[in-house]
């Protein structure tokens, strides 16, 4: 298997070309959770094993790109790649977003104890809706850039925190309506799309959505769940 000169090759980050190896490594350190994630997604081809070994050797000492660096970057395409690598979670946490709505749903679910006996587990599921002013992200790009919205939620099993981008209409409601009110449940509902009518129940595990059919279900064009559907149909979410 032929190799290539690591330091003279061109590197690509999130589809953008033109990076040096040292620069790309800083972006990748921000983008990938661990060296294993990097190896899984980037260096799976045998010809990239030298690159993999080099990155792995330096992984712990690589300084990931920061939100502040991204904000100072004048090349807008590169800045967007930086935001992509940094991720919505770190971006929102760093930039002091405005909390628009917070709702807590009490849920009861069946669980099983160590003796495999079912019991009812009651817990609170919290959803927060945030707004980040556009001028915090794109100060030099335009005079009044659009705000960005995200919903924050927690995995009910691991309690890991997630931030998910959502569009303005999901955050604030229909733009035609005179009364636009932020709604964290409507926002999280929007993140789920299904393609059957009359679902019986919906399960979510990470990015995987499973919609259980009812006898009335038929195939439809994909659609986002409404708040009411989310509250009545969502059975399990981890």
């Amino acid at each position: 298997m032929p190799t290539f000169k690591l330091h003279s090759a061109e590197y690509i980050v999130s589809h953008m070309r033109g990076f040096s190896l040292s620069e790309a490594m800083r972006f990748w350190k921000a983008k990938f959770e661990s060296i294993n994630h990097f190896k899984r997604d980037v260096t799976h081809h045998p010809a990239l094993k030298d690159l993999e070994a080099f990155v792995e050797e330096h992984w712990e000492t690589i300084q990931p790109i920061t939100v502040q660096e991204a904000l100072q970057e004048t090349n807008m395409e590169k800045r967007r790649v930086m935001f992509d690598c940094i991720g919505v979670s770190r971006l929102f946490q760093s930039l002091d977003p405005t909390l628009l709505d917070k709702q807590v749903i009490s849920k009861v679910r069946n669980r099983w104890d160590k003796k495999n006996k079912p019991y009812e587990h009651t817990f609170d599921d919290t959803y927060e809706l945030y707004r980040l002013d556009g001028n915090k992200l794109f100060k030099s790009e335009q005079s009044d850039p659009n705000p960005v919205f995200a919903v924050r939620c927690w995995c009910t099993t691991t309690e890991r925190e997630y931030w998910i981008y959502i569009p303005e209409e999901a955050a604030l409601g229909n733009s035609i309506s005179s009364s636009r009110n932020p709604d964290a449940i409507r926002a999280i509902a929007w993140t789920i799309r299904i393609d059957i009518s009359h679902p019986k129940r919906i399960f979510r595990q990470g990015d995987i959505i499973v919609a259980e059919q009812s006898p009335q279900s038929t195939d439809t064009a994909p659609y986002h769940l409404s708040k009411e559907q989310y509250l009545s149909l969502m059975y399990s979410e981890t």
Binding site: F4, E10, I12, D41, T43, H45, A47, L51
Partner: protein
């Protein structure tokens, strides 16, 4: 000749055609522009009067092409028939329709090169291939001179294959397609990866001829 001389369209048309003269309204248009015009014995009336304009408008309303807005072409003509007191003729309406061309075109790359997918972009009109590019997509990773060489080689190998396929399509109006081949979709053959493109999208001209008969108002 004015509207006042012939109070109805029928009277006007009868008078014009009473000695075997031909009164015709024709049209040609599509893709957001076009025209209707009247002619007598093939002589176009450049500045129609009110009554002639009313007849042209009547024909235009009946054909329902409006301002010819849309991606179609139309050409037609109707002649006044004094026996039936109607305008009669034909319209040829040409539109494009999309279709899938089945094929078997080979994409072959060395096994020792890495990529996430290969995008093959095709843009052809009815005459020839205007653009055919092959691009090795890498989301994150390294790109070398070898990628450029393989892309150029691939492009060179695909052009004659696509040209043969496109030349075999009757009435083709164009082909615009981006074919994405993921790395995992290739099969390994010795030192190479091989994929066969089984189809691509194209459009072709589709014409319909229809007879037209337009009554005049009493």
């Amino acid at each position: 000749m004015t509207h006042k001389d012939y109070p109805t369209m029928t009277e006007y048309c009868q008078k014009i055609t009473e000695n075997g003269q031909q009164l015709c309204v024709s049209w040609n248009g599509g893709h957001d522009s076009g025209y209707f015009e009247m002619s007598i014995n093939e002589e176009i009336i450049d500045t129609p009067d009110d009554l002639q304009n009313a007849i042209i408008d009547l024909i235009a309303d009946n054909t329902d092409y409006g301002s010819f807005a849309g991606s179609f072409d139309t050409e037609g003509e109707v002649y006044y028939n004094p026996a039936t007191k109607c305008f009669e003729g034909n319209d040829r309406y040409t539109d494009t329709r999309e279709e899938v061309k089945e094929c078997s075109m080979e994409v072959r790359v060395p096994r020792d090169i890495w990529f996430d997918s290969i995008d093959i972009q095709l843009h052809a009109d009815e005459m020839e291939i205007e653009e055919l590019s092959a691009f090795m997509v890498i989301k994150d990773g390294a790109r070398t001179r070898q990628h450029d060489v393989i892309e150029a080689t691939l492009q060179k190998a695909l052009i004659p294959q696509f040209t043969n396929e496109i030349e075999s399509i009757k009435d083709i109006s164009g082909a615009w397609d981006v074919i994405t081949i993921n790395y995992k979709d290739f099969s390994a053959e010795k030192s190479e990866l091989v994929f066969y493109i089984k189809k691509f999208d194209y459009s072709f001209y589709f014409s319909t001829d229809s007879e037209i008969k337009i009554d005049l108002p009493n």
